[in-house]
């Protein structure tokens, strides 16, 4: 492994930018993601920065069952994120549709049909600590030696 790669690995493990996108949830997971920002959980002490801008994000948190309004848009949000990137499904909705996956609903779960999902955090809603540990667990796996793996 080259020195440059080692530097990149180190830097990437200490600075993870997160964007979240709500594709039709009940809001419960949104507020748990927001709670991660609070001084109690203090997401920034792990080098994770939440600022909800896809163009500078590394990790996309996808919340909610997939609604028709997002048909082409989620894909375009995903394409705007620069490589290396990963998407994490937060809550039951993006995994299975949760309570909304019934006859006559308008949703189209799972989200994995529309963009590649690297990890799933089940729960309705999951606790902030679970979201935090999922981000911390996924990031090193996806970002480590990215250039080497790409070759």
């Amino acid at each position: 492994m080259s020195l440059l790669q080692r530097v990149k690995n180190f830097v990437r493990s200490k600075s993870i930018h997160v964007a979240y996108v709500d594709v039709g949830s009940c809001n419960g997971c949104d507020i748990e993601v927001l709670a991660c920002l609070s001084p109690r959980y203090d997401i920034e002490q792990y080098g994770i920065y939440v600022h909800n801008n896809p163009r500078e994000a590394d990790i996309l948190l996808v919340i909610g069952a997939f609604t028709p309004g997002w048909e082409e848009k989620l894909r375009s949000v995903w394409e705007k994120i620069p490589d290396p990137k990963a998407a994490i499904a937060i809550g039951n909705c993006p995994i299975s549709g949760c309570v909304f996956n019934r006859p006559h609903s308008l949703i189209d779960p799972p989200v994995a049909k529309h963009i590649p999902i690297s990890a799933q955090v089940p729960g309705c809603p999951p606790r902030p600590t679970e979201i935090l540990s999922a981000v911390l667990a996924v990031a090193p796996v996806v970002f480590k030696d990215y250039e080497v793996k790409k070759r």
């Binding site: 039709g24 009940c26 809001n27 419960g28 748990e32 609070s38 609604t67 909304f100 006559h104």
Partner: protein, 362 residues
Amino acid sequence: MKRTVDVSIPVGPVHPCWKEPARVKCETKGEYVLSAEVELGYMKKGIERIMRGRPWQEVMFLAERVCGICSVIHNMVFIEALEAISSIPVPDRAALLRVVVNELDRMQSHILANFSYCYTIEHETLGMYLLDVREKVMDELERITGARVTCAYIVPGGVRFDLRAEDALHLRANLAAIEEEITRYMGMFENGPLIALRSREIGILTREAAQEACAVGPTARASGMPETDRRLRHPTYQKLGFTPVSREEGDNYARIMMRFQEVLQSIALIRMCLDSLPEGPIRGGGIPGAGEIAYSGEAPRGELSYFIKTDAAGRVLDIAIQTPSIMNIEACCHYMLKGVASLADVPSTFVSSDPCIACTER
């Protein structure tokens, strides 16, 4: 009214300041916003369509998931509507416990809304302080109900869990701490000169406009309409001698201060409940039956109405939910945003009305 315009600047659906997706298309002249049009459809799950024909035991959990932020009140209004249909009595202790949990929920929702506003006007310090206080409220919610969000605490004829003596003690101690901190942050917000520059006289909603858009909740009360508070018509709140607060300015500043005041009011209400909490059962009996009703309650964002029709087995035949955010976001986008002097004020004005798109679209 729809018009074709030359310069229409879209804000959203993915926006750094917004928790949820919505798209506001602002028709502008320079930076001056002439009018705004909103495009929804990013959160429409069709909850009312799923609910139809299902037993109340299932609809109860679906109702909670109309909105995750104010889940307790959705639960409460749905269950109280069922109770009103089939005249199920509620023990006194349970009625007061409902108020306790509902007010805790209102506190966390208001604090979250104020956090969002502070975050949007880039006052992150105050925002983080508020988020820290909110965790204390969430702790209390979890201690009483067993879950942070979507706790399904209220069931027909009572509540699920009793408030233990040690929990009550903990709640009182935490309330004192929360009150002290909220008073301090309220002072910071009230006297911050830069906050005033970003908030005062911006996004004004006049009383007439609020009436026309049927604005409710803190948004309406900040424009001088205290009579919109549904808690005035709730028997338990009437017993507690509840009187709403209101302000006259109708700008962003007034709406945020309104929420701070209501948090303090909620603390007082919870204390009153704890003082007058009688001993006794927390859950009576009763089976939901057939009937039809329109029932309203005061959610953190305003008046929430359920129109329900059930059959003899307790199945929900027809249901329509009117959430407060519908009216408030409409008031915001079609009245407040008109005449906002700069595009930079569009997100902050939008957030000041405490928009909840998940409620709006269901």
